[in-house]
């Protein structure tokens, strides 16, 4: 097994830990804990994780644990405990309400999971300082490659997802998004012109597909990294994607040679008056193949097989992916759609035929309502919630119907869910939801 310097892992750990801590502080400071997890009356659950709900005021404690464990990760302090706590608390937070689903939150959960199994505290960490037995200058090469592979998957799959007729041939949804930014210096003047829109959509697709390979190739790595920075800074300016650009830029540094990380750590050591020499002990962490390690490696192999295959699960569903969103999430489909919807729920007494419509604002925040109205699994879950709610109020023989309209990528809105289907009868499952009306257009491509 090849060994390599542990410095890249240490740098990745520090970047990741501090960025996560900043993300948590930002989230807290913006008041989003209250707004997204405490205020709403109802929360949308992931299928199979219905038992995971916000914890009321204790949700703040959860975020505190998450933030503190992120700092623990950055410092490499009680690393295994810190990263496990971080993974669990962060993932718990994300599972509390799928309204807030973001691809990069999923990415963070995956990285955190992977980091549990990597010796990223072997070098330049408090653990290594306090327990020399844990301190190694060299680690198995695969531990770094595993991180590279995960980053590469994100880019490459995001690129694959762009290979469709809306993105490449219609210039959608950039045709909707870019013109609004006409006030950006210089570039803004051209955001309503086709050549720039198509330049952005094509170069975006090519960038995503090629960047993992460009970063691997030493001679053009620097150019590739400049492209990474430019690309993500542009997305940061143009789109409300929060911390994502910074996470990806720093994640991409894992592709650099160990020399780069070594230098970075030397600078940090000097500034912080840390004796870096102490970590340069020339000790090699050798890959052992005892039972525990074999199990660990098999687990990671399964993890990556899932990562590579899971995004293709959409192929098992009939209908247009963008329309039904069956198999859409957890597949690195980032910034692909401008989708808007409207769903009006009708509560019917099956015996008397009496009915009334629901005011969604009574139960959902505007953000939840927006997400609900375009995604069938949200619509179904909400329909069941409404049934229970009105049953408690003493209504009987309840049937729940929805009149809904959705528009994607500049198309006119059309009816979305079959309004004659009683959603109270339908169950959530992995199966195709046959009550979604067909998409009356075609989006070609992957």
């Amino acid at each position: 097994m090849r060994s390599t310097k542990a410095a890249p892992l240490a740098v990745f750990r520090i970047f990741f830990g501090f960025l996560m801590a900043i993300s948590i502080i930002r989230f807290w400071a913006l008041g989003w804990i209250d707004k997204l997890y405490i205020k709403p009356l109802f929360h949308f659950s992931y299928y199979g994780f219905e038992f995971i709900k916000p914890l009321g005021e204790w949700t703040y404690v959860l975020f505190l644990i998450c933030g503190l464990s992120a700092i623990g990760v950055a410092l490499g302090y009680k690393y295994r405990l810190s990263i496990i706590l971080f993974f669990l608390s962060f993932t718990y937070i994300e599972l509390m309400d799928k309204t807030t689903y973001l691809n990069h939150y999923y990415f963070i959960s995956l990285v955190a999971f992977l980091l549990i199994f990597l010796p990223v505290n072997a070098y330049f960490s408090l653990d290594a300082k306090r327990q020399p037995i844990l301190s190694f200058e060299q680690v198995p090469q695969w531990t770094i490659d595993a991180l590279k592979l995960l980053v590469a998957i994100v880019y490459f799959y995001a690129g694959l997802a762009k290979l469709n007729s809306d993105w490449l041939l219609q210039g959608m949804p950039l045709k909707i998004w870019l013109p609004a930014h006409y006030d950006l210096p210089i570039l803004g003047n051209f955001f309503h012109q086709n050549w720039l829109i198509y330049l952005f959509s094509w170069s975006g697709a090519i960038f995503d597909l090629s960047i993992p390979f460009l970063l691997l190739y030493k001679r053009i790595r620097l150019v590739a990294f400049v492209l990474v920075v430019v690309f993500h800074m542009l997305t940061w300016v143009l789109f409300p994607i929060g911390m994502f650009p910074f996470i990806m830029i720093l994640a991409a540094t894992i592709f650099f040679d160990a020399k780069f990380h070594d230098k970075l750590l030397s600078i940090a050591a000097k500034a912080l008056k840390i004796n870096k020499k102490k970590f340069d002990n020339q000790k090699k962490l050798l890959q052992s193949f005892n039972k525990a390690n074999k199990l660990k490696i098999s687990l990671l192999a399964v993890f990556f097989i899932v990562q590579i295959t899971f995004p293709f699960r959409y192929l098992a569903y009939p209908g247009e992916l963008f329309w039904t969103e069956e198999g859409y999430r957890f597949s690195w489909r980032v910034m692909l759609m401008e989708k808007a919807g409207y769903a009006s729920f009708k509560i019917v007494n099956g015996k008397t035929g009496e009915h009334f419509y629901v005011n969604n604002a009574d139960f959902l925040t505007p953000f939840q309502e927006k997400q609900m109205s375009t995604q069938p699994d949200f619509i179904l879950e909400y329909a069941h919630f409404l049934k229970k709610h009105f049953e408690k109020q003493g209504h009987e023989y309840l049937e729940v119907y929805v009149e809904s309209y959705v528009a994607i990528n500049g198309r006119r809105s059309t009816a979305f869910v079959d309004p004659t289907v009683n959603l109270a009868d339908k169950k959530e499952s992995w199966k195709h939801k046959n009550w979604i009306l067909p998409f009356n257009d075609e989006i070609k491509g992957l």
Binding site: H192, I241, F244, A340, T365, I408, S413
Partner: protein
Amino acid sequence: MIIHHLNTKTTSIILSMAMIFFIVACSTENEPKASTDNFDRQAMLVNWADNIIIPAYDNYVGKLTDLTNAKNDFIANRTLSNLEALKIAWLEAYIAWQSVSMFEIGKAEELSLRDFTNVFPTSKTAIEEHVNSGTYDLTLPSSRNQQGFPAIDYLLHGAAENQEMILERFETEENLRNYLNDLINRLADLSTAVLQDWEGGYRDEFVNNDGSTASSSVNKLVNDYMFYYERTLRAGKIGIPAGVFSNTPLSDRVEAFYRRDVSKTLFMASLNATIDFFNGQYYNGNGQGESLKSYLDFLNSITDGSDLSGLINDQFAKSKAKAENLGENFYTEVENNNAQMLQTYDELQANTILLKVDMFQALNIRVDYVDADGD
């Protein structure tokens, strides 16, 4: 050394690429059409502020001054003709209100202007309690359904069986006069505060916040407009009384319930104001400026989509035509002619979809300030 050499080379490549890009950018920029064929959101905000919102508030505050004067005359001299003049002033101000209600932004949002002005049904019991005790606090959120136009409606048209008896009550009950006085003064104070804010610094703040983020003026006001259309106009004035949101019609939920014969007038004023705002129609006089319509038309020219603003205006016209068939008194319409009310609701509902789905998509309106990576 080789690495260093490469670095210099790559750096120079990047630099020259950037140079080329800037040269292209600047040279195209100097061509006359390059920036003029773009949409100017600020021009739209200026049109909204200067030609629609501020004149509408100005008019509303003026009508409230008339109402205050009529009220003062009536309290000083409780004659039938003064009561009638007061009722007329109330209606005029109520109609003027319909043109500003949708602009719940800035000071109006801070003061919860709409909720302190026009929450109905008003609480007859609570009002009578206040009148009896003479103690109340109109700034409390819980007192929203005990003030504003609906509460004045009750005092002027519903406080007793007929006009003579109402006059009699005002004559004998000082507390009733005080309550009327407080209600009208409060309306005037709130609206004046909002107008002064617009005429002070807020107009510039509003106009200069011309970006496209969730907190930009366009984004916020379009959300406010949509909320108004959906909740206040579609549901509040038609849907709720017609029983769309309940098992049975609720005829006591109509606007101006005690006066009865003006609910259509108020509704039409509100619908027309909504249509005019969409089209950028000036509040005073005949003129049009940049608007949601012209913004949609501009964006449509890029995406080559269907004529959305035309569809929305067609649907507005259909809603208006349907509503024209309604009688003046929505209470009796709900009681006797509810099918017509429901049809009007359906027409309004059809535009909810065009506005909230198609227009929101086209304008890329964000409903909330949160991170998102595409829908």
